[in-house]
Amino acid sequence: MVNNSILVVGGGISGLTTAVEAAEVGYEVFLVEKNSYLGGKVTQINQYFPKLCPPNCGLEINFKRIKSNPKIRFYTLAEVENISGREGDFDVTIKLNPRYVNENCTACGKCAEACPVERSNDFNYGMDKTKAIYLPHEFAFPMKYIIDPKACAGNGCTKCADVCQYNAIEPGMEAKTVTIKVGSVVWATGWNPYDAAKISCYGFGTYPNVITNVMLERMAAVNGPTKGKIVRPSDGKEIKSIAFVQCAGSRDENHLHTCSTVCCMASLKQVTYVRKQYPDAKIVVYYIDIRSRGKHEDFYVKVQNEANAVFIKGKAGEIKEDPSNNNLIVIAEDQTSQVLTEEQYDMVVLATGMQPATAAAQVPAEMTYDEDGFLASDPVTPGIYGAGCVNKPLDVAAAVQDATAAALKAIQSVRRQNNG
């Protein structure tokens, strides 16, 4: 028997798109997301380039489309453990991790007020804290609290359950496994920021004022750890100078072999964040090539003309710290003047690139990967397709295009099985 439903793994912008687009054609879709909320990485982005518009705007529309479409079923806190069978007839095992908060939760927030312990907030890359029971972020969909079992005081403490009037707290909740049958699979688990600590010469993790581009997004966001204010992590002070270091890990055979495609535009965008908050700050971008392709060139020109940033052609080679004030010294060879420059900054932003999620967690089926872990273009297992940044580094618009295309591939797959 051929199954007509489609499994989409990953609830970020790519997976959401594949799911919604396929469902709106009329197919039954299962969407599996490992986080406790849908939206993935874009929920952590402050603004999209080049329009400088908030990702939550588009996410709200996508969530509306999910809410109003009975053909989509989604699982959060879920991981695909196994895929067996064949195109048109896959058996998929999904592990559902416990939220410790049941469907009764009304997101009233009383529990978090009562909770006595804190945890590092991964949504903000550890730059602030939440309670052990927390709402991942205020736009979280589904809007439910969750307990971090690693942080929860556990056993003796029942403070959250005591204040919850809706019996929503279930400390004994356990992981469950469900098995579903689907006709085709789209793998859209996205990307992770490359671990900047691996780039030894930049001192990330050692120097507090060296941060990554994804961290700056959170800092610039009104719902971020600093409520939108860009400040130095070491002392919370305003900044007078900032450097953006391009290709931090990308285009580098010691790290990510590919160009991550988005970092140039992302840094140009972040230059506008800084300039808006600090009209007089010194902003310097260290680069090899500025890759604002296509119409994005307009944005590059605009930033050059309006943001008063200095562009240094030369990869930042090393970052040193002045331990007396935690200022950073960026050393690079300025190739237009042919000299080595050593400039001091209050803060440095590493434009760390995209590592496909499949580099760490591969598809539980036979697939091929390139040297960086991206899915190779030709699928090995018929009926399983990649979408978005597991295929290649993509910006949001391109990821959505790719994910829309993947929806068609998945549909073709089940149609083909029906025919034949």
Binding site: E253, N254, G317, L340
Partner: protein
């Protein structure tokens, strides 16, 4: 030292020198340089180099043979490998520098004392199978003349030697040649022959 001044007449791109370099054992790596400048920053001796490795590769690309061959860049390399570790294109810069040194020696660009030191070391290793500091020094001075000694003495080398002696760190007799020296030399000669064949 090399004249860094920019001339007014346009520099003509000439590929013949680049071809010569790219044909060296590790020379071909120079052509995949994407001109990021990471090596310049990483280099332990960049501040006394005429050109950073990146600039040197750029000069190779343009075809400025004299500038490259007379530059001190490769001689200043301490083989600390920082550039090699960091080069985003995976260029083994240390090995390219070795090739440039070997080429310089072969073509008579031996003004820098380092050339003599390298040769002295090589001769010592080849003729004994192991090296002995005293032997290298003797060969070095033989090549460079007494001027080098004066220079070293001015820096206080004599006291240094005495200190070493005093702490029992200078073997007065050179170590014996290795037993299999003849075989080693045969191996080396065969390697040289193979290497030359490979280059063609």
């Amino acid at each position: 030292m090399v004249d860094n001044k920019i001339s007014s007449a346009p520099v003509k791109y000439d590929n013949s020198f680049a071809k010569e370099i790219y044909a060296l054992e590790n020379g071909h790596y120079a052509q995949i340089c994407m001109q990021c400048g990471m090596c310049a920053v990483s280099c332990a001796t960049h501040d006394i180099m005429d050109y950073s490795p990146r600039r040197l590769f750029n000069l190779v690309r343009v075809g400025k043979k004299e500038e490259v061959m007379r530059s001190n860049t490769m001689w200043m390399c301490t083989a600390c490998c920082m550039c090699k570790v960091r080069c985003p294109r995976g260029i083994p810069l240390v090995d390219v520098m070795h090739d440039l040194k070997a080429m310089a020696i072969k073509q008579g660009y031996v003004d820098y004392p380092h050339a003599a030191f390298h040769q002295a070391f090589w001769q010592e290793a080849f003729s004994r199978g192991r090296v002995f500091e005293g032997g290298i020094m003797a060969r070095f001075i033989l090549k460079r003349g007494l001027g080098e000694i004066k220079k070293l003495l001015a820096l206080g080398m004599k006291d240094m030697g005495m200190g070493m002696l005093k702490h029992g760190r200078v073997p007065l007799v050179p170590p014996r040649k290795i037993k299999g020296l003849k075989e080693l030399q045969q191996i080396i000669q065969r390697a040289q022959a193979l290497q030359e064949k490979e280059a063609k």
